[in-house]
Amino acid sequence: MSATPTIQKRQSNTTRWLLAPGIIWMCLFLVLPILMIVYVSFWTQTTFNISSDPTLASWKQFFASDTYTGALWTTVRIWLIVLATTFIVGYPTALFVGLFVKSKTLSTVLLVVCVIPFWTSFLIRVLAWRPMLGKEGAINIVLLKLGIIQQPIEVLLFTELSVIIGMTQIYCVFMVGPIAFMLSRIDRNIIEAARDLGAGFGRIFWKIIFPLSLPGVVVGAIFVSVMVLGEFATSGALSGRKVNLLGNIIVTQVGSLKWAMASVVGVCLTVVMGIVIAGFLRIVDLKREL
């Protein structure tokens, strides 16, 4: 009798015990609810009642209505725009924090500064944009006083633009963090080596720095995407109900107890997120990079 099989058996038992809490938790509160939502989306909904008789009515209604499909496209459009703006604002910030700041302490301090807005509640952060962007808001007052504009800019608040501005500010830090982390892990000698071999700054950036930071960009993009696709509060508070995202539809439907329709929208949103995340994960092999 050798002792190896016993040890292996004990190890596989340990593995099972360590995995069990996570698996049970995920099954109860993730897999099961998702299956429930898919199931409920096929229920029959009448004005005051809902029954479990299977029907495609809610699905047909979703794809036939301009309001619902419109919300789907608005969600995708706003997601793409916010993804682009958070990247455009976030990458240079991350480049500064992660690569150009030489002291580790200072770069940690700067990252903490980026997180300071999170010390207040989500709703306050969103609502704080109203006195900034409004017709008599801070931006308009300053621009009027400086004589740059004669009439207040009204497009700043209660438009898609205000939603994009708000979301960019709130989610930018989720882009900055992972990118700055990847950039800070780049060995400075590599950059010096590239310079010593005669490569200019542009070449070094595109051939060395950017490829090495790509896993951070992907992780940041996944964070931002998941949060923006599920958004409803920012669009509710800053668009004056003019911008309806899938999240807003779910809130309204649940509010009026239209469970079947809410489930259809929920399934659509989950599918979109699944496609987006799968797409991002194809860009880099995160398991290898992190």
Partner: protein
């Protein structure tokens, strides 16, 4: 005429109050292998980085191929630099790493020419067949070769190596030592090699430059440095000498071993009596050796293959080392914790003294 490949004139570099380099002056000829030896913090890496152009000196000039390059940026100097941790591009393959400088610099070569040059260099460093591997799929010694090949494809006239063998295991280090020398001889360029290991410095350099606290304290051929260390510090860094503090006056050195006549001494900043490990002899307490003697307790011995190192404690934690080459016959056997008399021929000692002019 300036025949030197590079010349340093009074180079000084400070980091705040710390003087990393103090008035360093040095000249290197073409086709030479120079090693910089010094303890960590002696400024040897700083000196290398100043030559490479990664650091700007506060004072002094750097000349390269007859041109003052003190203010020329690193990439325009035409000096190759091999980093201590190799600094390979982790997302590129071996051939992409080696060809990087030709592809992205100002070589003006076509991709096919770049690939051909890169492949030639890969063959030179003995990595044929590895071109397409990622740099995380090869061993430490192979990475070292990639780093060297990447620098050599740029055809520099001077290659700076920052502790190139430090990241390798002992076995590999010995092999790479020979390889580095062979590659250098084939290309006929000047290598400057920074190391903290005295055996590496002595084995590889045509000339050894010893640094201490930012100052160059000796420049010479390995044999000359070994046989005639210029200062007590050099003797200390060579790690081949037992050093005794004491007092030199009137041709007599008074140390822990008593007073010995000193036929000749070297000017030093302090009075030190140095005896090479392999010049020491140990005898029983009742023997009466003629030369100087010091009583010490045997601690342990180390078998090194070609020699045996014996360690003695002369009190106060002062360890005296004695090397016995096995080619001279079987080693003496010593009893642990027994006292012996250590003695040597005073004519073979090197004495440093303040009173010497």
């Amino acid at each position: 005429m300036d025949t030197a490949v590079f010349r340093l004139d009074g180079v000084t570099k400070r980091y705040g109050d710390l003087v990393a380099l103090d008035n360093a002056t040095l000249e290197a000829g073409a086709n030479e292998y120079i090693s910089f030896l010094g303890p960590s913090g002696s400024g040897k890496t700083t000196l290398l980085r100043v030559i490479a152009g990664f650091e700007a000196p506060e004072a002094g000039r750097v000349h390269f191929q007859g041109r003052d390059i003190t203010n020329v940026p690193a990439h325009e100097r035409g000096i190759g630099f091999v980093f201590q941790n190799f600094a390979l591009f982790p997302h590129l393959t071996v051939v992409q790493n080696v060809g990087f400088g030709l592809t992205h610099g100002k070589s003006g070569l076509t991709p096919a020419q770049v690939e051909q040059r890169a492949l030639e260099m890969i063959e030179l460093v003995g990595l044929s067949g590895m071109e397409g591997r990622g740099v995380d799929q090869i061993s430490g010694g192979q990475r070292q070769r990639v780093a060297l090949a990447r620098t050599l494809t740029m055809q520099p006239k001077l290659v700076l190596l920052d502790e190139p063998l430090g990241a390798l295991d002992a076995n590999l280090r010995g092999r790479m030592r020979n390889e580095l020398r062979a590659i250098r001889e084939r290309l006929g360029v000047t290598f400057v090699h920074v190391t903290g290991s005295e055996t590496e410095a002595l084995a590889m350099g045509d000339r050894v430059v010893v640094l201490d606290r930012g100052r160059i304290i000796q420049i010479g051929a390995p044999g000359q440095v070994y046989d005639h260390p210029a200062t007590p510090d050099v003797a200390h860094y060579l790690n081949r000498f037992n050093l005794f503090e004491g007092k030199l006056s009137g041709g007599q050195f008074t140390g822990p071993f008593g007073t010995v006549a000193v036929p000749s001494a070297v000017k030093g900043d302090r009075d030190v009596y140095a005896v090479r490990y392999d010049r020491m002899r140990a005898v029983a307490l009742d023997a009466a050796p003629t030369g100087p003697k010091i009583r010490a307790t045997f601690i342990a011995s180390e078998y090194l293959g070609s020699a045996v190192m014996n360690f003695f404690d002369a009190g106060d934690g002062h360890v005296i080392e004695m090397e016995h080459h096995l080619s001279l016959g079987a080693p003496q056997e010593f009893e642990p914790r027994q006292d012996y008399l250590l003695t040597w021929n005073p004519e073979q000692a090197i004495v440093f003294g303040r009173e010497v002019r």
